[in-house]
Amino acid sequence: MKWGVVTFPGSNDDRDALYCLETVLGQHAVSLWHKDRDLKGVEAVVLPGGFSYGDYLRCGAIARFSPVMQSIIEFAAAGGPVIGICNGFQSLCEAGLLPGALVRNHSLSFICEWVRIKVETTRTAFTRACHKGDILRIPIKHGEGCYAADESTLKMLEDQDQIVFRYVNEAGEVIEAANPNGALHNIAGVTNARGNVVGLMPHPEHAVESLLGGEDGRKLFCSVFAR
């Protein structure tokens, strides 16, 4: 399967995503430059982590208007699978492809640690190889990862099964102590109504080799190509 990984000025996990897809998972992956309108015929898109455009104004706010994002918005509207990781998640929210927004961690600190997230739905392009209730161990590293949305949006997310991942403890319980950044309802990742666009703060591309601490992140990518 052919994947595209976007590079904005300031992206810093684009190489990790390419390595994960090509070397670890044996996929065909190409780099998409932020000025490209041409998506090179890719069948799935990864918006990687980093600090696109220096996080100026708001995280993901400038990336949202880049030429490549206009093509990705069309690609997503046609049902193409798109995953936004960390800064990519922020950009998808800014672009209106996903509901809500990411704001400063409650602790005001940049957090870099392994967390546990529970799979809340398997109807998305990136979780259909999982089981509902699976607990994945995946690292986070962000300063602005606190998921925020108004009450009506939250209700819509719950009603339409759009919450994909929540931060949990070892026992899989959704509790405040397991919430690293103050995210509403412990939300770590959401999807659009159709389930083809997924955004999450944890980094699955950093959890694909046991040597580096775990392989749980593979499931998200494998969901797209393993039928």
Partner: protein, 81 residues
Amino acid sequence: MLAKVYVTPKKAILDPQGKAIVHSLHALDYAEVTDVRMGKYLEVRLQGLSRQQAEQRVEEMCRRLLANLVIEDFRFEVVED
């Protein structure tokens, strides 16, 4: 012309920076402080527009880019430069 744009976190959104500033002010004995909300102030310089046009354009800029209406409110004033 100059547009002075103020972007602030919505009331419903917790503002941890504002809270940290409150704590710091209390530590400096400003016990009268009950709340701080921290936002952004932008100066947008414009040319070739009437005041009415400028206000319309700045409103649009705020909605499209300068503020994220999911989490922020904005207000602005247009003044002669």
